[in-house]
């Protein structure tokens, strides 16, 4: 089961995949940007000097498409000021000095999940600040409230983890598969006509086996073995691989009768609904050939990348490039003093920057980007239109359908920055549209 196109980058998962998750307790200060999701920024509800507990809401949702932020430690609010985040912007953030005691608020677990109404389930997910934790950060309660919930036929758990090097979802599936299945059961309660599908790439046979064993008595759940190919975990590609339905940029997964949630998101749904716990921690991979001891952590959101790196033994070799996330879609960091958020799943430190190693040369029209593009576009032409400022041609050649997976730049033998050019033009066109 797969999609058309795609590439096979070096996987690199062996570095950290067999390292059991370790719990990491943060020291010093933690930084919580108020925008850790798509939508309106959250509004701080604490003031400098306030004492907060672990699990306490420190910023409330700023609208329907928004999500609250919670403190992951107990301590004192030290400042509320703009801080730089992994994508490079300055974002208003709440800074909390950790008192090291981890005093928690009292959570209100659900005695019986089955007795909760659909509205109550969504309310609990919303109030726990659950967002798409695979990277996009779309508020989950919005995703789970489509116009016609009875038309949803598939709830797909995105267990593909197609980004090279990342192993956090893998560890989650190996260590907490029961919670994942339980979380899926909760989501299925919202959609009466849906079946739950766990889409796993076939480079994780142990996860497939484990999940298959767990769902064998679940009439509404199944495991789909997907071909290992990047970007198998892209939403549109995953939906196509599992259901054979194709959606474009103007459609939502719900238009194809699908809801897609990442592994970590489903675990957070479980924590929120069953235990009443908000999102304050997640699994995170520190890896790359520059890291002394590549491993996986369960850590408090808000910890700085530097602290996570130190916990992994620091560098064994000086890296050239540091990436928040995976090598295909992650963000390069110029500095490690940056906070993690709900959506950061990895820190990747590479001794060699393959991008700087090569000088882009002229396009020879070889068509490898065309073969690789999962959206069936002509990336080399789109990049050319972008570089020449031809926005109308760009739109005519379907440039807005690009999912920014980066397969074209990866495969290009002339080492051209195709994805970068295409992303730039997409942003320009979207900005123009907003103006109108």
């Amino acid at each position: 089961m797969t999609f058309k196109g795609g590439v096979h980058p070096y996987e690199g998962k062996d570095l950290s995949k067999d390292k059991p998750t370790r719990e990491l307790l943060p020291k010093g200060e933690l930084v919580y940007p108020v925008s850790q999701h798509i939508g309106a920024p959250a509004k701080p509800i604490v003031a400098v000097g306030d004492t907060v507990l672990k699990g306490q809401m420190i910023a409330e949702a700023g609208g329907f498409v928004s999500s609250p932020v919670f403190s992951s430690v107990s301590g004192t609010v030290k400042a509320i000021e703009p801080r730089r985040v992994s994508v490079g912007d300055m974002v208003n953030s709440i800074i909390i000095e950790n008192d090291g005691e981890y005093k928690e608020v009292t959570y209100s677990p659900a005695d019986n999940v089955d007795s909760l109404s659909k509205e109550e389930i969504i309310e609990r997910i919303k109030n726990a600040g659950v967002v798409g934790m695979g990277g996009a950060g779309f508020p989950t309660h919005v995703k789970l409230s489509p116009k016609e919930p009875e038309k949803i036929e598939y709830v797909i758990a995105n267990c593909a983890e197609c980004e090279p090097y990342l192993t956090s979802d893998y560890r989650r599936m190996m260590e907490d598969p029961e919670k994942l299945v339980e979380g899926m059961r909760i989501v299925l309660k919202l959609f009466d006509n849906a079946k739950g599908v766990f889409g796993v790439e076939n480079n994780k046979p142990d996860c497939i086996e484990k999940l298959k064993e767990l769902v064998k008595d679940e009439p509404r759940m199944e495991v789909a073995e997907l071909m290992t190919k990047y970007p198998q975990g892209g939403e549109r590609q995953l939906i196509y691989a599992v259901t054979g339905r194709a959606i474009n940029s103007k459609m939502l997964p719900a238009d194809a009768g699908c809801v897609v949630d990442n592994v970590e998101t489903i675990i957070s749904i479980y924590n929120a609904v069953k235990l009443g716990k908000p999102v304050t921690e997640r699994i995170f991979t520190v890896t790359g050939d520059a890291v002394s001891d590549p491993c996986n952590f369960r850590f408090s959101i808000g910890t700085s990348f530097q602290e996570l790196l130190d916990a992994a033994g620091g560098f064994k070799e000086q890296p050239e490039k540091i990436i928040a996330g995976g090598p295909m879609m992650g963000f390069a960091l110029f500095d490690l003093n940056i906070p993690t958020t709900k959506t950061t799943s990895a820190l990747l430190c590479l001794t060699k920057d393959e991008v700087a190693e090569f000088e882009p040369s002229p396009c020879i029209n070889c068509g490898r980007c065309v073969e690789a593009c999962p959206e069936l576009l002509i990336p080399s032409r789109l990049a050319k239109f972008s570089n020449n400022g031809l926005s109308d041609m760009f739109e005519k050649w379907n440039g807005m359908e690009c999912v920014e997976c980066g397969s074209c730049s990866f495969i290009c033998p002339a080492k051209r920055q195709l994805a970068q050019s295409i992303k730039t033009m997409k942003k320009t066109i979207l900005a123009e549209r907003k103006k109108k």
């Binding site: 999609f3 980058p9 070096y10 090279p164 549109r236 196509y240 194709a246 959606i247 474009n248 103007k250 238009d255 000086q318 890296p319 050239e320 490039k321 990436i323 090598p327 295909m328 992650g330 390069a332 960091l333 110029f334 500095d335 590479l350 920057d353 393959e354 991008v355 700087a356 190693e357 090569f358 040369s361 002229p362 396009c363 020879i364 029209n365 070889c366 068509g367 490898r368 065309v370 999962p374 959206e375 069936l376 576009l377 002509i378 032409r381 005519k396 379907n398 359908e401 920014e404 980066g406 730049s409 990866f410 495969i411 290009c412 033998p413 002339a414 080492k415 994805a419 970068q420 992303k423």
Partner: protein, 313 residues
Amino acid sequence: MSDLYHVSSSPHVRDKDTTSRIMLYVIIALLPASIFGIVNFGLHALVLILVTIASCVASEWIFEKIVHKKSTLNDLSAVVTGLLLALNLPPTLPWWEAVIGGVFAIVIVKMLFGGLGQNFMNPALGARCFLLIAFAADMTKFTFDGVTGATPLAQLRNGEEVNVMDMLIGRTAGTIGETSVICILIGAIFLILMGVIDLRIPGTYIITFVIFLLLFGGHGFDWNYIVAELCGGGLMLGAFFMATDYVTSPITPKGQIIFGICLGVLTGLFRVFGANAEGVSFAIILSNVLVPIIEKFTVPKAFGQVKEAKKNE
């Protein structure tokens, strides 16, 4: 922040294949045909191959020096052009004419249009056609085993019998690299296995041409005739090594099919109804010119677009 790390837009990793490696694969794939050409036609064939490559490489280097551009010799494309041009020359051509061909290919057809990736016509074939017009007598004189004679296709046209087995092996008169179909196919299979070319263009080209011959060739289902037509006149060399030239063929998958059909029909027209027995070179460079129009009408539908159209009905 004493040490800053590299920052760039994602993705942060790259595939190992480079432009020069692809060009190297093409050179390797042309070696069987080149070596056979030298064995078949003698030392002068080797001289022509070396002189043509040297001429192409030198013209590119000098041109870039003159216009103050960074040297692009490392991408090996000039070597490929030189080798391809040499394989398209008769083995008895005076060496200085080959030099002129190399200069024409690189300077006029390639560099003046902006260099690698910008030329609209295959440089080697552009130069071959130029030489055909400039030195018509030398370019159409084919000698084999010391005897000047007609190429198999010319014999076929005159109603003579040809030995298809000789054509497959390459023991016939022709240009240096076009005669041995077996050697060309060995190279083509190598390129397909290395993922450099696929069968879309050569496949549709050959199938279209065969259909054209069946309909208009006037020989009906005479397989001897069809195989001889396929093996002769550099059709195999053209289909696998020149029609598949990335720069001068369409990038759209559907466009490549249409391009192949154009090639088949044009080659058929030239050979069956034209005055010349050959026609592959002209079919390819004419189709090269059609590429922008073909591409314009074959912009592929994006993923999920068909479904949307249905929804709007």
